[in-house]
């Protein structure tokens, strides 16, 4: 067994075995999660070193090559997402260890959280490593079902309704995706992405298939106008679950969209389709930000902010897809969007974890209750502010690098509209994040009850994530070069 096969096996199977073990030994959830983190992190490190030194990794499982066999592929893009997921999951599980610890009394949420969280991780890794549209379907379904269960984990009326609403969108989305995959198979006899790239575009049904796949994935990524399910679902779940749902889960369906439009079917992308996707992203950005301004609960603000931030991921399509793909600015736009996806994953997860700690301290997340919380939770508020810097796109954060790359690309491409939207997005993000931060630093009311203490060790996890998002901006050259590895048709341009 080669080192690369070992690494891939660890990354894929450690979370799945962990989930099984956590199901069998319900009370040992935190210990099993720790073992899983160590095993998966080891696999991830090995994989990153292999990709960086030897380039993209291919593995035909059992020696069966495509189109019959199942291919695992890990290029720089997959490596970046896997590493970010490992980091974010590690921090989330560290914070979750206390509220979901198996105590003497049996609680349903403590019993179900660990298997679900580890399954979610396994599904994400399976998606990031798949090189075949049908495997992506299976991974996406596993991810969706686990995410729906996590939304409803507390079993309250509102959260169950949020989970059901999410489920209805997700069911429709997966059927559309499956229909698209069936049409592609009927026309080309394969669903392997590399083989599809040579064949797609010849059959008349291809554009229908692409539309079905895109529509299905857009519903799962909560792209405007399919965003209605996201805010109640993400704000209703317990904070560690929200952090996974908001930071990681929508990135998986976006990742599949990237693989589809940039690798499987690059020739299908007409400028109309690309403009439509970018335009919907712009709508999502404005709409989500305005609604975030209106909320008076911290978790709802963060959830609406996710709608907005996911929106401008879609600017990648007009800036780097279709005819732009061969242009010199495509690499910048493409990398900018990936940077945004990765830094948003870290910052948003950090924010939800901070919100969870604030809820633990004051018992609720209504904004007025947050007055003066900085005195009780200085590290948490600091982490929240750092994450906010990334979401606003201020230097030197990863969010700034992302915006800078996308803005230079949009001016180079002669489409300054997207740059304008990015500036507007930053301003709106600053506006809706200012309110909770200003309250956190305000003087507390005299009759306000004293917040409960939260241990420093647990406050460190969201801080580490927020710092990682900032570091992604300061040390952006290495990850920039890394995610280009194995990118098809990469005309690598530097950060000029």
């Amino acid at each position: 067994m080669t080192a690369s096969a070992l690494a891939l096996a660890l990354i894929l199977t450690a979370p799945l075995f962990g989930a099984l073990a956590a199901m069998l030994m319900g009370r040992r959830g935190p210990a099993i999660a720790l073992a899983t983190i160590i095993a998966t992190a080891a696999g991830t490190l090995i994989l990153l070193v292999i990709i960086a030194t030897e380039g993209a990794v291919h593995l035909a499982i059992g020696g069966w090559e495509a189109p019959l066999g199942i291919q695992l592929r890990a290029d720089g893009l997959a490596g970046g997402f896997i590493a970010t997921t490992a980091l974010v999951m590690g921090a989330i599980l560290a914070v979750a260890a206390k509220p979901f610890a198996g105590g003497k009394t049996e609680r349903r949420s403590a019993y179900t959280f660990w298997p679900l969280a580890l399954l979610l991780w396994g599904a994400l890794n399976a998606i990031f490593l798949s090189g075949d549209l049908f495997n992506l379907y299976v991974g996406l379904e596993l991810l969706t079902l686990v995410a729906v269960a996590l939304v409803g984990i507390e079993g309250k009326r509102e959260t169950l309704a949020a989970a059901l609403r999410y489920m209805m969108f997700a069911l429709m989305g997966s059927l559309l995706y499956l229909l698209g995959a069936a049409l592609l198979y009927a026309a080309h006899g394969t669903l392997d992405i590399a083989l599809l790239a040579e064949r797609v575009g010849s059959a008349p049904g291809d554009i229908v298939a692409a539309a079905a796949i895109t529509g299905g994935l857009a519903a799962k990524t909560a792209l405007f106008p399919f965003h209605a399910w996201l805010p109640p679902a993400h704000s209703g779940a317990p904070a560690p679950a929200s952090a996974m749902l908001s930071g990681l889960v929508p990135k998986a369906s976006f990742y599949i969209l990237l693989r589809f439009w940039f690798e499987a079917a690059p020739d299908l992308a007409g400028s109309g389709v690309l403009m439509l996707l970018g335009g919907l992203g712009a709508f999502a950005m404005v709409y989500g930000s305005l609604l975030a301004l209106h909320q008076d609960r911290l978790k709802l603000i963060i959830a609406y902010s996710t709608v907005a931030q996911l929106g401008y991921l879609f600017f990648i399509f007009p800036l780097a897809g279709g005819e732009s793909a061969a242009q010199p600015w495509a690499a910048g736009a493409w990398s900018g969007a990936i940077f945004h996806a990765l830094s948003h994953a870290m910052a948003k997860a950090s924010m939800f974890l901070c919100a969870g700690l604030i809820i633990e301290a004051i018992g609720h997340d209504r904004l007025p209750g947050m007055k003066g919380i900085v005195r009780a939770l200085p590290m948490t508020v600091f982490a929240f502010a750092l994450a906010a810097i990334t979401l606003m796109g201020l230097p030197p954060s990863g969010g700034f690098t992302a915006k800078y790359l996308m803005m230079t690309a949009s001016f180079a491409a002669g489409q300054p509209f997207w740059a304008l939207m990015l500036i507007l997005a930053g301003l709106l993000a600053a506006a809706y994040l200012y309110r909770p931060l200003a309250l956190a630093f305000a003087l507390p009311d005299e009759d306000a009850p004293a917040p409960k203490a939260v241990s420093r060790a647990r406050q460190f996890a969201p801080l580490a994530l927020a710092l990682a998002a900032i570091l992604l901006g300061i040390l952006s050259a290495a990850p920039f070069a890394f995610i280009q590895i194995g990118r098809p048709g990469a005309a690598v341009e530097g950060l000029e």
């Binding site: 189109p67 379907y137 079902l145 409803g152 009326r157 309704a161 059901l164 209805m168 198979y185 009927a186």
Partner: protein, 112 residues
Amino acid sequence: MVLSASLLYGLCGAALIGLGLYGFVVHRRLIRRVLAFNVIGSGIFLLFGAAAYRDPVAGSDPVPQAMIITGIVVALSATALALALIVAHARLARSDALPEDDRSGDPDEGRP
């Protein structure tokens, strides 16, 4: 023109997808929407299976059949989770529709 078997199955699949879509959009009660989801799913599987039989000499292509079986397993687990959530929600909310859809003048008659 003779209606070949695979064309007939394909058309049936398309009809099922259309019927299911109609049901999914029109109904407010969640169990009916889950049923509609299953009707659409069956239509897609039928379409997929029909597409596998393209060459009368070589017979049908087994790969889509393997994918259909996987798809059925996925649809089954999704249905099970959806039903469990619907039951849990109905116990607490005394309603089998989502709050925003739950209003009088419901096109579906009767209560469970």
